[in-house]
Amino acid sequence: MNEPTSNTELLIQYLDGELEGEELQSIKNNIEANPDLLDELENLRLAREAVNSYGLREKIRAIHPEMMRDLKEKTKPGGSVTKMIFQYGLRVAAVLIILFGISAMYQYFTGTPEKLFSAKFQSFELRELRGEPVNPIEDVYKAGKMGDVISAFNKINKPSQEDYFLAGNAFLNSRQPKNAIDALIKLQETNKSLNQHLFEEDTEYYLALAYLDNGQAAQALPILEKIHADPNHPYNRQVGSWFLLKLKRLIPH
């Protein structure tokens, strides 16, 4: 049965369709004349079949786990619907995340101190003042007449801390940040000289906003960082990390 190696090689070449012309005819003649060669050829053919069978089995084995997962998913009650809803939900979430990201990036890169001011500024509501109204400027402020508040403030010879505070807010409402800064700093100086703490925390927050409106991000930052770092500060929740990040970007290093 065992033929010389050269014969085996010729048989394999014949099996693989690599022979032609005289070589092809010669091997055909030899196979016809020699039953051992024919036997070997058939065995080689079987060996080749075995290789193909092995390859095909491996291919099916590779596909099998994926298909079993798919089929099991489909036979789960509501499985495909749940999957569809889940996939749809994921897509919606992905779109929202992208939109949120774009919006955040836009805000981050296009921010100005004035925009940050506009995002945060809300008029101080006088009802938050405690005690009976004894200051005539209060009534005008409550009426929302900011111009009248400013006029009244300018006529006062010796403004109180409350006058300074209301005037500061009236200036902010009227988009006169420089005057607002002056009034609020005066309030802080008065407090300091009298060793008092009137409107202290409100003043910090509105002074920082005044700085922002006046384009002075660097002056606003330490005040806002202090508020952000103090969880007991009444304006703490107004100053988030993202807000500070946007503010810091505006300050040249």
Binding site: V51, G55, E58
Partner: protein, 208 residues
């Protein structure tokens, strides 16, 4: 050949007809999508049959892989004559393989009961087309025993139909001739291993 949903072998969308499926399964290499279609269209029926006849879920999975293998090999040898639908043919193949498996497991009584109970008047006799499972397993072990390099070369050349220059790129051999020589030696080695088991060779030759 790559196979996509636009293949001419698929009639509409991603569904195969019997005709297009048979065409696809005869291709070299066989498109994954055609095998996946067999799973999608026929697995549940096969699994139900196995489970109803003393088989487990794992049996169903194992047998279905054997059924696909047998079906594709029958197609490749042009021994499927189209005398029935693919579904009917697969049923017959399944039944044949599973009944033989039960016989191997020494469950003759069960086997006889199942054979009579689920006999289908339209059933085809496919026994002459299908290699015994145990015989197949022995054959696969012989290929496995060749070693990684031999398997790689033989599979690349015969199963994947790669040219020698392509195979050379995946191996650390000097030139194509060295790979060619190695391929001869590997195939000869497999042939000799098989020849050492004449009973197996004789049975396999009846299926050629």
């Amino acid at each position: 050949m790559s196979f996509t949903y636009n293949s001419p072998y698929m009639d509409t969308g991603n569904e195969f007809t019997d005709f297009s499926l048979i065409q696809a399964l005869r291709l070299d290499p066989i498109p994954d999508e055609a095998i996946k279609h067999l799973y999608r269209s026929h697995y549940n029926l096969t699994a139900a049959y196995i489970r109803q006849n003393s088989g487990s879920d794992q049996d169903a999975e194992d047998i279905f892989q054997e059924v696909i293998l047998a079906f594709i090999e029958i197609l490749k040898k042009d021994k499927f004559r189209g005398e029935s639908s693919v579904s009917t043919f697969l049923y017959s193949v399944t039944r044949n393989i599973w009944l033989n498996e039960l016989k191997k497991r020494d469950r003759s009584r069960q086997r006889d009961e199942i054979f009579e109970k689920s006999r289908n008047p339209l059933e085809l006799d496919v026994s002459h087309l299908i290699a015994d499972r145990e015989m197949k397993t022995r054959l696969m072990l012989m290929v496995d025993a060749l070693g990684e390099t031999c398997k790689k070369i033989l599979l690349a050349f015969y199963f994947q139909n790669l040219a020698m220059r392509e195979i050379l790129k995946t191996l650390e051999y000097e030139n194509e001739q060295v790979v060619r020589n190695k391929k001869y030696k590997c195939l000869k080695q497999l042939e000799q291993t098989m020849a050492a088991q004449p009973g197996l060779v004789k049975s396999l030759k009846t299926l050629l």
